[in-house]
Amino acid sequence: MPTNSSTLSSSTLSTSESAKPWAQWVMIAIAIGYLALVLLLPAVNVFYQALAKGVGPFLTHFAEADMQTAIGLTLFVAFIVVPLNTVFGLFAAWAIARHPFRGKPIVISILDLPFSISPVVAGLMMVLLYGQQGWLSPILQFINFKVIFAVPGIVLATAFVTLPFVAREVIPVLEEVGTDEEEAARTLGANNWQIFWNVTLPNIRWGLLYGVLLTNARAMGEFGAVSVVAGNIARKTQTLSLFVEDSYKQYATGAAFSASVLLGALGLLTLILKEILERKTHRKTA
């Protein structure tokens, strides 16, 4: 069959379908209705509840010291974890994508483990490793370094749950780009660093940014794993997510929703940037 006739017939197909448009519209209505119930109404509700009593009360919550400390800690954790996992992700993606070896699917599965391990179990692992009766506690006590119920524990737990994102986004891009340009650069006398900086990095930049974006969203929003290791001491180990839960538990719904607006805005910004990056890379993946 020539390609011309296939495009022709698929256009006749869509006209034959639009002869019965009601079935289409019913399906579209069901899809949108379901998304509204499960995703859209809850998302709109965050902003509605935060602003229901007016902008003034909404803004006063940001003047509270606990909220400001929570914002600071959330930014601090992301500031440490995102670069750490970006560098690791680049190394891991390079190691996995650029070297043919037999156990590749197994290594990728291991890398994916943090996606399937419950965040609470991840937090529990950190307690068992760094906690008071943990394996590393003799060393930690010797150097007088507190991990669990302190900021280092939050950093470690967040690094655990966000570990795969960058590598997972960069591996397919590296594989797709191939090694031709890198080898050309090498024959022209470029050293490893020059090859990486001038050839590889520009090729993978959108995939890398996408991975960094996902890492950052998860790092700033992580709750389960952080909740286990933080001990939730206000003004010391309370991230924004923990602040939301704590305020809600204490019936300070206004404060909870005000903090949620910040995290919700982070989510929306992530979605928008994600759309832009997806258009840059011409792809649509989860």
Partner: protein, 281 residues
């Protein structure tokens, strides 16, 4: 920072003897961040006597928590298998105003922190909330019941099905469906016999990914549930409560059970993806 040359032309033994820097960083970081914590969990779990392990792992409260977790997660994942496929279908096959926006919104559960999801779902589905308020006069309670847990699980597992089905559906050759129609098959026959079989691995992969995520979910579920044992207490919350009571062994045992189940699910997902690739080729 040195980047190793592509080693494809070298003898495999050559690079086993001389591990490159990227591999050293990868192995080192994975060993410290990922393997060591998992070993610590198993190490702690085997310090419990096997009989003690079994007693805690199968205690009535744990069994009830598994039941609530797995049955609710499976139900939610299956419901999303249906609606997720429908949403993917609508997004790929039909055009309508606002389609791009709807497409972007599907990813919301990946981007919205789970504590916020839990807070807003608990509010919307509470007896005073937008949706809960409509159902309250009929005596239907959602927030602080097991149905609420299911709603939170629906929220977090929805994108998985849509995003695994969508690419398969958009690459599908529509000529096959036309051929079936021209041979006299009805629309339903065409869907069941021609369209659905190649989609099935993707749908099941999405359901398994969603199920796996829902089983481990903590943030959104802990806030919409009342966390009452034997009623709507899920396994991750049980682990958390055990830790709060300084019952490290109890938390470790149930955590190990959950971890082993995640391993099994990961294996299942890999098998489903391999099955899907066979269809693609």
């Amino acid at each position: 920072m040195a980047i190793a040359p592509s080693l494809s032309w070298r003898q495999p033994l050559g690079y086993l003897g001389k591990i490159s820097l990227p591999w050293r960083v990868t192995i080192g970081y994975l060993a410290w961040m990922l393997v060591l914590p998992i070993v610590a969990l198993f190490g702690k779990a085997i310090t419990a006597q096997p009989s003690e392990f079994w007693r805690i792992a199968t205690s009535p409260i744990a069994l009830s928590a598994y039941e609530v977790t797995f049955v609710t997660a499976l139900g939610s994942a299956l419901v999303n298998g249906l609606f997720g496929t429908l949403i993917a279908w609508v997004l790929v096959r039909y055009s309508f105003p606002g389609k791009r926006l709807i497409d972007a919104i599907v990813d919301l559960p990946f981007a919205l922190p789970t504590a916020v999801a839990g807070l807003t779902l608990a509010t919307v589905y509470s007896p005073k909330g937008w949706i809960g308020g409509l159902l309250a006069p009929f005596g239907v309670k959602i927030a602080f019941t097991r149905v609420g847990v299911a709603i939170a699980m629906l929220f977090i597992s929805l994108p998985f099905v849509v995003r695994t089905v969508q690419p398969v559906l958009s690459e599908m050759e529509r000529e096959l469906e036309e051929a079936a129609w021209s041979l006299g098959a009805s629309k339903i026959q065409t869907f069941l016999r021609v369209t659905l079989p190649p989609l099935l691995p993707a749908i099941l992969t999405g359901v398994a990914l969603g199920f796996s995520r829902a089983v481990g979910e903590y943030g959104s579920t802990v806030m919409i549930a009342s966390n009452t044992p034997f009623k709507d207490l899920i396994a991750p919350v049980l682990i958390f409560q055990q830790l709060e009571q300084y019952n490290i062994v109890g938390a470790t045992v149930i955590g190990t059970v959950l971890l082993l189940i995640s391993f099994v699910l990961l294996l299942l997902i890999n098998l489903l993806q391999a099955w899907g690739r066979r269809y693609a080729n």
